[in-house]
Amino acid sequence: MKASSFLVSGIRTALVVSTLVCVQGAIASSATLDKIKATGAVTMGVRESSIPMSYTTGDSRFDGFHVEVCRMILNDIKAKLGLSTLRINYQPVTAQNRIPLVQNGTVDIECGTTTNNTARQRDVSFANTLYVEEVRIAVKANSGINSISQLAGKKVATTTGTTSVQLLRKHEKATGVNFDEVFGKDHADSFLLLESGRADAFVMDGSILAGNIANSRNPKDFKIVGEVLSVEPIAIMIRKDDPQFKADVNAAIAKIVANGSMPKLWDKWFLKPIPPKNSIVGLELSAATKNAWANLSDKPAEDYQKK
């Protein structure tokens, strides 16, 4: 009896000790950082037409507000890992595949226009928010539409696979305003629906509206009107269960904010001419975004809705 109980307690201790050692090992290492160090390359997820946050400037080159922030972050990580060169592979992603690609490790860091919300936090992790998006309405300047209540019975365009679709549905239910929804397959397509007259309004994040208007044939024909329909934090996406990498990314973000680069970046991408057509987006810095820089956090969109 005594010998067997010694044996049991001995085995139990060994199990506990070995588990502690394994857990210790897991906490200390980071899958992403190990992969970057081993291959000398990192895959950045980018969008193709989310002007000016993350878009292609032609010839498989990608640029944008978030892309430039990510480059600065990766520079810091390169220095931290002690690598002499770090090759960045740009992987275009869509609203459909961005989360699965981050989950399965194809993309190490996604720098597009992904909203941080609780549903997505089940699958991926978000760095601290650097941009707070406001969902607005774009209409033709001569349409006389100024608010969402005037859209009753009109055609409203939005992009498939975005959070704006559900937002419009909730709005219809909440206010009883009934409009006809048309779906574009991507932002450029939805803007084309507005341009060609098949839709009377385009509901989407303000930066995407401003970017598409800036790049259209006659930007003066359009304007962004109406109340803010929703406030959403846009953040950089990284793998879940990799706290070391997340801490490094957030540390790099804190450094960028601390040395005052954020207002300059905003100016460069939102208020000055941007490639490829040297158009100006013309979106002013909102109080919500300034607040996000002052109080860095990764809280989800639901927390922003509670006022």
Binding site: Q96, T162, T163, V165, Q166, V182, F183, D189, S196
Partner: protein
């Protein structure tokens, strides 16, 4: 990988489970807010509607064009008809289906303005119907030209004019011969109806993309959509197989084992 099929019983507005999940799709009860299952059923209806409309357009126009391509070069009018049908087939065969859908939705309505008023599902059915009609025309032409030349000669000898010989002798046999490739083409129409998502028809593919984004449960959503597409295509297959069996003329099938029916 954990799957949660309960996502279909969640409301599309706030993600809470709805009261009448299964009974609402049979019309017995009504949910206050639609669930993902209700939305899935509506999307399935749209897929079937676009597929049926396209198939009807394709079968009628395809049969006509295929028949016209088999006319002999005897007179100017028949040469013109052959040339017109050939132009139709070559035009719609050489352009990818998605490009054709965009042309019908964005380009042609800017020239023919009344088309802008048409709902998008009609435009996409026209596009898909014309695209498939070119393929059906070629299959019907193959069926007609596989018949021995004695058939047309015998019909003429019986005193039938061109239209009568096609109507009573040639086409009944030719169409029976091409039911197998027509079955494939009909199933293709069901599958190709997924291009309607690009012009905002709220069908299964658009449902899959949007619901996956909202619920983050891509595996369950795509499994359900795949199942419904397979079910729809397979039903079309079974229906046409039944038609094939019912309209088969005994003894005219090449692999028949009854020697007394050989001809």
């Amino acid at each position: 990988m954990n799957m949660d099929f309960g996502v279909f019983c969640k409301s599309t507005l706030d993600g809470e489970p709805v009261q009448h999940c299964i009974s609402s799709i049979f019309g017995i009860a009504q949910n206050a807010d639609p669930s993902y299952l209700d939305w899935l059923m509506q999307a399935w209806f749209w897929t079937i509607a676009v597929a049926c409309l396209s198939l009807m357009i394709a079968l009628v126009i395809g049969a006509v064009m295929g028949t016209l391509r088999t006319l002999p070069n005897s007179s100017l009018s028949s040469r013109l008809l052959v040339w017109g049908a050939t132009a139709w087939v070559e035009l719609f065969r050489n352009i990818p289906i998605l490009v054709q859908v965009f042309v019908w939705y964005h380009v042609i309505p800017s020239f023919i303005l009344p088309l802008k008023e048409l709902p998008s599902y009609l435009l996409v059915s026209i596009a898909l119907g014309f695209f498939t009609s070119a393929r059906i025309a070629e299959q019907v032409r193959a069926g007609i030209q596989s018949l021995p030349s004695g058939q047309m000669a015998a019909a003429t000898a019986l005193g039938m004019n061109r239209i009568q010989s096609y109507r009573y002798v040639i086409l009944p046999m030719a169409l029976r011969i091409v039911i197998p490739p027509l079955t494939s083409e009909s199933m293709n129409v069901v599958k190709n109806s997924s291009v309607a998502f690009a012009v905002s028809v709220p069908e299964l593919t658009l449902f899959a993309m949007q619901a996956q984004e909202e619920t983050s449960r891509g595996i369950e959503i795509y499994l359900a959509v795949t199942l419904l597409y397979a079910l729809s295509a397979f039903s079309v297959n079974r229906l046409l197989t039944w038609i094939e069996r019912r309209t088969r003329i005994p003894g005219f099938v090449g692999t028949s084992t009854d020697p007394s029916l050989a001809h």
